[in-house]
């Protein structure tokens, strides 16, 4: 698996990731995270939201309840994803290729009313 610790790839991109709507509980109660990813993966492709999800689960999420964030290798139903403030459905969902400076927001709709 491609890994951000791979020493050869110097080029990286930096994005901000926000968790709201209760999701922050799963991410050390921090709303905003700055995430650095390789600009290119080992197979030459750009990192996508799918890649980001994997990265978040493996490297950022300390909470064991992965199932509250990820289901079937994708964002759990009921969690909205905004890519630069736009619904990710407008941007190709999990296949969206991340760009330097992107702002990705995960909002849970599952919590209290």
């Amino acid at each position: 698996m491609a890994d951000s610790t791979n020493g050869n790839s110097a080029a990286t991109i930096s994005i901000t990731v926000e968790f709201t709507g209760g999701l922050e509980i799963l991410f050390s109660n921090e709303r905003e995270h700055t995430i650095t990813l390789p600009a290119r993966l080992s197979d030459g492709s750009q990192p996508t939201i799918s890649y980001l999800l994997q990265h978040l689960v493996e490297h950022v999420m300390k909470d064991d309840r992965k199932g509250l964030f990820i289901m079937e290798d994708n964002v759990r139903p009921g969690i909205l994803v905004l890519i630069n403030d736009a619904d990710w459905e407008l941007e190709g969902e999990e296949n969206y290729e991340l760009q330097q400076g992107d702002n990705i927001v995960f909002v849970s709709t599952l919590h209290g009313g």
Binding site: G21, A86, T109, G113
Partner: protein, 410 residues
């Protein structure tokens, strides 16, 4: 991917795809259309009258915050002439409600609405922390849900307000429809989808102006208007939504986004198909408004959303029914039974609780029953305000505690 233009104004960048019709909208058009649709729901159902005092059941969560923001906007834009106030319930859960009540207090300032907070402690003599101390974490959501339902009405009555609006959204209604199908609850199937429900002894009207609004759009509305709302899972019901009808509804939305409103539509149609003897049972209240009695379970702070445990309880009940039934009829094999017997449906009669007067299908309402159990087992040292001699059953009635309740105005 090139930015998509807004379906409505054809100019600005679309940031939203609407679940119900897949329209792509920009921020400004989305906010306006969302508000307009709530306005259409309100006028279509004749929810309000000019000069009416309306209490918004406010939890500090997304739904009630959006409801308050939208109602304020619409009240000004269309000159409804409403007198809006915020009404909050303090369940008495330290570390949970404290923060959300702070949010409500900020909302009160932001929307310039007066706020009233009613506490379980004052109303029932028990805070949720104390309930949990007594009965443990298992099953406490039932207490919370039952107490909450009455608390909003009681609070409104105290303020002399006849109408409480809540933030129930289309997802909540869809979930209720599915849940009532699963639990085979015809009376609730017949009224669970109503936008207006008349409530307990105090003739307080309840309504859900966001009934047709997707939860997704509510969250996005709050996001794009940068509303100040609070989110935390109740500390006493972690993962309350697992394995429930709620998960099913979310899965459905993933497959076909319109399905949430489709379920609401189905629910409304089926409500009209529930046999009259069931749907009209106990309809002592005037008007066509449905009667909504106390909920049997679920967490109030989650709008009565379902929990996984509810299915197990339901199954147990049904298994008992089935066992009883098969002992009576099915042991003797071939015996003539009319295959086309008329459908027999058990009606449910709603009356009033003998103790507190709240609407109930039983002689004693759920809250009073729960309180009785709590009070009977309460350690003598912990007796508090409003509860007198514990051996005297009638003394701990809700009605009396209501009289003694003090409302905290802030």
């Amino acid at each position: 991917m090139a930015p998509t233009a807004c379906f409505n104004c054809k100019e600005a960048r679309a940031v939203i795809i609407r679940p119900k019709n897949r329209h792509k909208l920009c921020r400004a058009c989305f906010i306006e259309i969302f508000e307009t649709e709530v306005h259409e729901t309100i006028t279509g159902a004749n929810l309000f009258f000019r000069g009416e005092r309306v209490a918004i059941g406010a939890s500090g969560g997304k739904d009630s915050t959006v409801l308050a923001a939208v109602l304020k906007t619409l009240n000004e834009r269309y000159d409804y002439g409403l007198n809006l106030v915020l009404l909050s319930i303090d369940e008495g859960i330290r570390g949970y409600r404290d923060d959300s009540l702070e949010t409500v207090k900020r909302n009160a300032q932001q929307y310039e609405m007066p706020l009233t907070i009613v506490g379980y402690g004052e109303l029932y003599g028990w805070t949720m922390d104390q309930v949990v101390e007594q009965i443990g974490k298992k099953g406490n959501c039932t207490y919370c849900g039952v107490f909450r339902r009455q608390a909003l009405d009681r609070g409104a009555a105290r303020l002399g307000i006849q109408h409480v609006v809540t933030g129930h959204n289309a997802d909540d209604v869809a979930e209720t429809v599915m849940m009532n199908l699963l639990r085979g609850d015809l009376p609730r199937l017949s009224r669970g989808t109503s936008i207006v429900t008349a409530s307990g002894g105090s003739d307080i009207k309840r309504s859900k102006p966001l009934k047709y609004a997707y939860e997704k759009e509510i969250v996005l509305y709050a996001h794009h208007r940068q509303l100040d709302y609070f989110t935390t899972e109740c500390i006493y019901s972690p993962e309350a939504f697992r394995g429930s009808a709620r998960t099913l509804v979310k899965d459905l939305e993933k497959i076909r986004p319109s399905s949430i409103l489709d379920i609401v539509k189905s629910g409304e149609d089926m409500a009209a198909l529930v046999p009259r003897e069931v749907s009209q049972s106990g309809k002592s209240c005037k008007s066509s408004a449905a009667v909504e009695e106390e909920a049997t379970g679920g967490c109030g702070s989650q709008n009565g959303r379902t929990s996984g445990g509810e299915m197990a309880a339901m199954e147990q009940q049904l298994a008992e029914n089935e066992a009883a039934e098969s002992h009576e009829t099915e042991i003797q094999l071939p015996k003539k039974v009319n295959g086309r017997a008329p459908k027999v449906v058990k009606a449910q009669t709603l009356g009033h609780c003998e103790r507190c007067g709240y609407i109930s299908s039983q002689p004693i309402c759920k809250a009073c029953t729960l309180l009785e159990g709590l009070n009977r087992n309460r350690p003598k040292t912990a007796i508090e305000v409003g509860i007198g001699m514990e051996d005297e059953e009638g003394s701990s009635t809700l009605a009396r505690q209501m009289e003694q309740a003090q409302l905290t105005n802030s």
